[in-house]
């Protein structure tokens, strides 16, 4: 500008003062965030601390103590797998805890017109209660299926908000320090999908946090057991979390047959197109060998029987008032197929998962508790 500016001392001072303040503020902010992250252990430590935390209570062994079903189908080398994974520092949430004595391997709560919250609580209680999966001080991530922003929950294309909120409440009650809820929708922005699905409102009311998954946080890890995928970029926060709770909705999906718990984990992987290109079923089984949620709760309050996974037609929605819970995602999925008049053998990824030793698909070989509400 002109001479005026040079003589105007206050302006120059303002600018300097402004820069000084911005610098001071950012320094303070950086210090705060550093202080906040300091007690948080880095990857390798996270693995060991969670292992230590688990050992005294004996509630979370690394699946070496296989459930009776595992022994029955002879999957001992698979059962040893998570221990290898631990030493290779790839998947901290590497193994679902084995059942507490007396509790069921898989629980199904149902009751026509029953409160979804009650069904959720009863099913989780029957598999050992939330305390089995969430320790005091744990950082928990809940992964529902919020795949699109097209329709509300009544269309059964996204997980029931009451079920998600109930899980958040349970985790908080068990002493979790943070409960984050997230998904990466393919149809619409995360914000729009969180709102449209009703999950944002319910989760916030329950004291949970809705988090937009950040594109910078994906980390590549090895998938040693993988057949079609040898490595993959997974959402880092899920790898670091003390517990991941998988909350799929049971619905129709033409290429996968059905989308259930194992398929729901596609939302934690960056390159989903690549999974399609390499063969969907085997890649779904592969990612499930790397990222293993502590608990799977299948929402079958309403199920979508056709035109999935997006839906949009109420004629395709069937009220089932059912919640399935298990630490074993394969077993939970295997049971969920029966709601569609199918069996686990009809869905290739469940079969592949069972063959890889990720869990049990033979419903006759596990302890199932059916709860009428």
């Amino acid at each position: 500008m002109n001479a005026g500016e040079k003589t105007d001392m206050s302006n120059t001072l303002d600018r300097r003062e402004f820069i000084r303040r911005v610098l001071a503020l950012s320094a303070a902010g950086a210090a705060l965030s550093l202080a906040k992250c300091a007690p948080r252990p880095s990857d390798g430590e996270a693995t060991s601390t969670s292992a230590q935390a688990a050992s005294p209570t004996a509630a979370r062994p690394q699946a070496t103590e296989a459930p009776k079903a595992t022994a029955a189908s002879g999957q001992s080398e698979a059962a040893a797998q998570p221990t290898d994974a631990l030493s290779q520092e790839q998947a901290p949430t590497s193994a679902p805890p084995s059942p507490v004595s007396g509790s069921a391997y898989l629980a199904v709560a149902r009751g026509a017109g029953a409160d979804p919250a009650e069904l959720t609580r009863r099913a989780i209680a029957a598999v050992g209660g939330i305390e089995r999966f969430v320790k005091p001080g744990a950082r928990v991530i809940v992964k529902p299926n919020i795949c699109n922003a097209y329709h509300g929950p009544e269309y059964a294309s996204t997980t029931n908000p009451i079920v998600v909120a109930t899980i958040v409440t349970l985790c908080k009650g068990a002493g979790a320090t943070s409960v984050q809820v997230m998904d990466f929708p393919f149809g619409g922005t995360p914000q729009a999908s969180y709102t449209k699905s009703g999950i944002e409102e319910a989760v916030k009311a329950a004291g949970g946090e809705m988090v937009v998954m950040s594109p910078i946080k994906y980390r590549e890890i090895a998938i040693p057991q993988g057949k079609a995928l040898k490595k993959g970029k997974f959402y880092g926060d899920m790898l670091d979390a003390d517990a991941v709770i998988n909350v799929p909705i049971a619905k129709h999906h033409s290429s996968a047959g059905l989308t259930l718990g194992m398929k729901n984990l596609m939302g934690t992987v960056l390159d989903r197109n690549g999974m399609h290109a390499r063969g969907l079923h085997q890649t779904i089984a592969d990612i499930n060998s790397a990222l293993r949620p502590q608990l799977t709760v299948v929402d079958a309050i309403r199920i979508l029987t056709a035109n999935g996974p997006t839906g949009g037609n109420l004629d395709d929605v069937k009220q089932m008032d059912t919640i399935i819970a298990s630490a074993d995602v394969v077993a939970a999925d295997a049971y969920a197929t029966t709601l569609f008049g199918k069996t686990a053998k009809d869905i290739a990824y469940i079969q592949m998962g069972a063959e890889m030793g990720l869990g049990q698909m033979d419903l006759g070989a596990i302890k199932i508790e059916e709860i009428a509400v």
Binding site: M1, G187, S214, G279
Partner: protein, 508 residues
């Protein structure tokens, strides 16, 4: 010192207006109570051109236009000096500085803006709005939304990714991401065709400050010309009284160079932007800003009949050229308009503001560089391979200030056909490789899938018989949203592509 205070006050107003401009820009489509197009409504040039070309008037444009003209009738070009984001950016851009009064390189340069104004309005009267790309608000909005902001997001993303590798910094990056991702920064990086071109043009406009301060405002700005013409009869004007000692300080301070020693330091109200930079320089109260009735003197560079005829002739020539363009002969095969915008009058309604491009969450709406010819330069075109039309979104129609993209309710938008998908059986995996893929079917968002699957027996790669699901499109259900084309896992051209719809099919 009232004069100094006023001058400082103006700078704060400029800053506030610019912050508001940025806020409306970044939050466009998600604003809780303000309209994203406030600055376009306050810009009487886009409104007047749209009204002339579309031959109808939109209520918000009428209100905004009346207010803007009333403002100009009182304060002349105060808009340029106080509110215009282009003017503010140019004030913040370093410019040529001389110790003495710096006359225009050539006097006729000031006439250029009037030529552009008449050209723009005459072309608009003939139905062509392409020259609105020269409107300063569209220019700044275009530069910031398609060039500056996406580039900034890209750099931030790269820096964050780098810092995230360091365990010590992870917490800080994490906190930053939690606060800004999804709120200020979109989850998906926006991409725009022509962003480099836009950046070069914008940089050139800023660089012209090296020739003369506010070169754009003095010589080129068609909006400044329009406000200047109104300013000829503005109430409040700067005048020089007898106390003037001809010290030249005001002439040196004037950013538009309209204080001319040859005119006894009087200024032309059409050129004065009421910035008050001159006010504190006058030691003897030689100048005043006071009310005047009647028109100010016509200057040599002000529009003449000859110039009017020349500009109108140029507009006529342009319209002829546009009409004889290749794009006018037959629509481009990839010219897919936003929902409801595929209509003959679209080109005479769209003011090229680019808000639709900004609010499109998938980057699917791209500025047309050549699909719609020069006549449709910078109008929105859906490019499904880059981004599809999200089934749950109607943001473009809601954001369009002039209704060129109609404000369809979501339910209506979801059955509005913008194109039709066609499977390319010479590329599609189940057709070529005899193995399942089905991504397009999975993605299809219509309540009854528009993509269906045929189960057939075919030979697998190893020669054995296998069952394969092959996609086909039911055109009665397809709305042309293009998510199938977008997500087709093939590299390069998709094996299912959307083309503009033929008249024969429609949903509902």
């Amino acid at each position: 010192m009232i004069a100094t205070t006023l001058r400082r006050f103006r700078r704060w107003v400029q800053l506030a207006a610019f912050v508001l401009f940025l806020y409306l820009l970044i939050w466009a489509g998600r604003l809780p109570f303000l309209r994203a197009d406030l600055f376009f409504l306050a810009d009487p040039l886009t409104g007047l051109a749209n009204t002339l070309a579309a031959r109808h008037i939109v209520a918000p444009i009428l209100i905004g236009g009346v207010l803007a003209f009333a403002f100009a009738l009182v304060l002349g070009r105060a808009w340029c000096g106080w509110l215009c984001p282009m003017g503010t950016i140019l004030d913040w851009t370093p410019s040529r500085h001389t110790k003495r009064y710096d006359p225009d390189p050539a006097h006729w340069l000031r006439a250029l803006k009037y030529f552009l104004l008449i050209l723009l309005l005459a072309a608009a009267a003939f139905g062509a709005l392409a020259f609105l790309i020269l409107d300063p608000i569209t220019l700044v909005y275009r530069a910031l939304t398609t060039a500056v902001w996406p580039a900034l997001l890209f750099i931030v993303f790269r820096v964050e990714s780098l810092l995230y590798q360091a365990p010590l910094l992870r917490g800080a990056v994490d906190a930053f991401e939690t606060v800004f991702r999804g709120r200020v920064m979109p989850v998906q990086q926006p991409y725009y065709a022509g962003n480099v071109l836009v950046a070069l043009v914008f940089a050139a406009i800023l660089a012209l400050n090296a020739v003369r301060e506010r070169f754009w405002c003095r010589y080129l700005c068609p909006l400044g010309a329009l406000l200047g013409l109104v300013g000829k009869v503005a109430l409040l004007r700067r005048t020089v009284g007898n106390a003037c000692i001809e010290c030249q300080r005001c002439a040196r301070a004037c950013p538009t160079g309209t204080i001319d020693p040859a005119r006894h330091f009087e200024s032309d109200p059409s050129e004065c932007i009421m910035c008050l930079e001159c006010a504190p320089t006058c030691s003897r109260a030689g100048q005043t800003f006071a009310g005047h009735l009647g028109a100010a003197a016509w200057q040599s560079y002000d529009p003449s009949r000859r110039q009017f005829l020349a500009a109108t002739g140029a507009a006529l020539a342009t319209v002829g050229l546009f009409g004889a363009e290749r794009a006018s002969g037959r629509d481009d095969a990839h010219l897919i308009r936003p929902p409801g915008a595929a209509k003959p009058e679209f080109l005479s309604q769209c003011i090229r503001c680019g808000i639709c491009l900004k609010v499109c969450p998938t980057s699917g709406l791209q500025p047309s560089l050549q699909q719609a010819g020069w006549a449709g330069f910078w109008t929105p075109v859906l490019t499904p391979r880059l981004g599809h039309c999200d089934y749950g979104c109607n943001a473009c129609g809601q954001a369009c200030p002039v209704g060129a993209i109609p404000p369809l309710p979501l339910e209506e938008k979801q059955i509005t056909v913008i194109g039709h998908a066609y499977v390319d059986r010479s590329r599609c995996i189940p057709w070529v490789d005899n193995r399942n893929c089905l991504v397009c079917e999975e993605m299809c968002p219509t309540p009854e899938k528009a993509i269906l699957l045929d189960e057939v027996t075919a030979r697998a790669a190893d020669g054995t018989e296998t069952r394969v699901l092959r996609p086909y499109v039911v055109h009665e259900r397809c709305i042309g949203c293009g998510i199938c084309e977008n997500r087709c896992p093939l590299n390069g051209e998709a094996a299912i592509r959307v083309y503009p719809p033929s008249e024969l099919t429609a949903v509902g």
